[in-house]
Amino acid sequence: MNLKIINTWYLSSFIISIIVLIPILTVFSSFFEDTTNYFEILKETFFLEYIFNSITLLLGVLFLTFILGVGSAYIVSFYEFPGANFFKWALILSFAIPPYIYAYSLFAFFENYGTAFTILKFLFGDGEYNKHIPKFSGMFGLILSLSFSLFAYVYILARSSFLYQSQNLIELGKNLGFSKFKSFYSIILPAARPAIVAGLSLVAMETLAEFGAVDFFSINTLTTGIYNAWIAFDDLAFANRISFFLLLFIFILFLTENLSRKKAKFHLETKGGFKKREKIKLQGSKSIFAIIFCTLLFFLSFVFPLSQMLYWTIKFPENLFDLNIIDLLMNTLYLVSLSSLVLIFFALLSNYGNRVSNKKILNILSTLSISGYAIPGVILAIAFITFVAWFDDNFIKSMGFLSIKKVFIGSVLGLVIVYFVRFYSLAFNGIKSGYEKMNIAVDESAYLLGYSKTKTFFNIHIPYLRNSLLFVVILISLEIIRELPITLILRPFNFETFATTAYISASEDLLEAAAVPALFLILIATFFILLTSKYILRERDE
């Protein structure tokens, strides 16, 4: 391997790692800076509330997503009932509903004179329905919103773990005379534990990073604390200090998830002894229970928010015409295509570098560079602004150059850089998993057939990775379309996406107006999910 190529890999991996490390280092450095007195006041009063609320929210969401995710995964993986094949993929459609849109729907449906009231009035005429309609606001509403939008993480991972459980394992339980419940409790669940923990860790990270829904329900958590410290008190250093605590939280989750993933390897190892499992056909009341459970979950997680947005769009068509859909679509496409290009370019470069050079240091740099996905968007955006301001003040201006703040803050370039940090792991891991399926002997065979490294890359790797690349582009698109805090904080003036438009309308108490962009967001996201469902739900025999 010639030296020049190795240097290119090191350099690119090094640059990627540095870009990802900047927000983390910025957060840490905030401890050495002065903040306003507000920090002292907050430390005495609200800070504990931030932590208490964050923990309550986390526990509530983890409990509900565990029940919903594992329950639904168990039913569709082990049993055959009418609609089982439909629910298999229908349950992942909840990914199309960001928690903040779910929150708008939940609130609006049950509020005084809301949709529930309208339905009751339509069905039964005028009446005092408001006092009988439960109100889903505050912490409970927030937990529900997050759980219904995030349970699919647990569902997908638990389901794939259940699917990969060999029939041998189930037969072993029968052979030992276990009842169905004991088999589930003693064999199936422990074998799937690492996958479930991994799913719950993802849910936890998303919950701690959630901004839109938390802000909508006016619950003070660490995330909204960070945003408010920046927007209301203009105190970046304080925002970064709260970020530090949140990062500590997330770091622990990150470790848990990584450890459980490593263990998952052993649990899922079925090489040579895998026997495809036959599903058990449900009859009578059991079958009805399974249908009701899955239908209810599908309805609550997807149909309900979609219908609410659709209802408002139809009811207030003027909002549709007030909005420049084409502009929003073009902005979204612009961000998606630019970010995808940059992400895929670097992720391919780094993966290829790891593959051909097989150096430990490159592996370490790669691991470091994917840590961005664990950092909430709010932290990334604010840390990025802090870093640019610091760099501008201490280097650019002092050297007599014009300020570079405008180049990076409130610009598409800044947005793409922070998206890069946040979503690099998606691109890197997507391509990596594609590469992992291709034995290194394949590359070596190509060299021995006279292919140069470049020709091997373009003629062998790229055609082989085609599907993985497509999958990565779709995943990135899905994330960017739904992304709120980074876009909200770093977008150029007058540059809106469906997510920011919905958020701005909702924060101005114009939920009906938020419905149109939210509906478009859901529809586009659904389209992308349907495109990826084949990969997400991949089964062993497919």
Binding site: A441, E444, L448, L449, Y451, Y464
Partner: protein
Amino acid sequence: MNNNFFEVKNVDFNVGGKIKVRNVSFSIEKEGDIICLLGPSGIGKTTILRTIAGLENLKSGSIELNGKILSSEKVRVEPEDRNISLAFQENSLFPHYTVEKNILLGAERNKDKKDKKISFKEIIELLNISPILKKYPHQISAGESQRASLARSLIVQPDLLLLDEPLSNVDQSFKEEIQVSLKKILNKLKISTIIVTHDSYEAFYLGSKCGIILNEELKQFDDPYKVYHFPNSIEVVNFLNRGVLIPAEVTSPKSLENEDLGTITGNFINPFPIGSKVKLLIQPEDLQHDDKSNLQLEVVDRKFRGTSFIYTLKTLSNLLIPVFVHSHHIHQHEIEEKFGIKRPIHIDHIVCF
């Protein structure tokens, strides 16, 4: 002046800086010869092939092909410029192409070659690949994948072909047939080949020379007959596992004496002074069965090998000795029965250590 077609000179074969086999030298005298490297798993046989192919670096010694240095401390020809084919033990087919396309990619390399000795059709017929041509690598068995990989390597018509356990995944019933086809193709194409295997029968059949790699060294490199009958060290004897070593004393230039078997005559491969205490190699075909003999030993085990039985006999001093008997022999002996050994014992070539 060195006239060998291929030569490995004093090479330390290493992976990632860790030496696997030290100070190795061997050669292929003329184009078209086949050599086999035998050794237990993990000993470094694959490393040798990978280094010859240019996939691993070399820190000392040199590798030459057709008078041209491919690897040395200073020279390194890239794998793609060597015209050496390596058929990997594991699946190395391009996963997104059909078997047919995989093989045709190999053919692309020699499309400008005027002297094409074998066609695509001939190769797929010889290796019986036709039924899987349209399939993708993930749709075929490990054995089929090895044959397809072999076909791709062969169609290149390389200057040197390297085969890493080429038939390890092929079904036993099919293995012999493929071995015959492979030998036929290699001889027809006159492709110099190095085959790595742990199957000594395969090595003895395919190779005109065999190398035995043990304990980080190339212990012996010789004709298969000599490797089998004249192993040059106790390690080679133990590796081939085709005989036992029993204590004996040299009594004359053509005889020795064992406490249980008595006098044994024959020709010493290596001379020993009279009176030397040695370890004598007894291979299954060295002793002959004779029911009427007065040397009767107890049968402790009997292995049926199709064409033969290998009896394991226990001597008075508890030595266990293997004896070959044709399976059509008039009668069989059960365990714990007595088994006669023909006397006087004469072994054509006496191997002692």
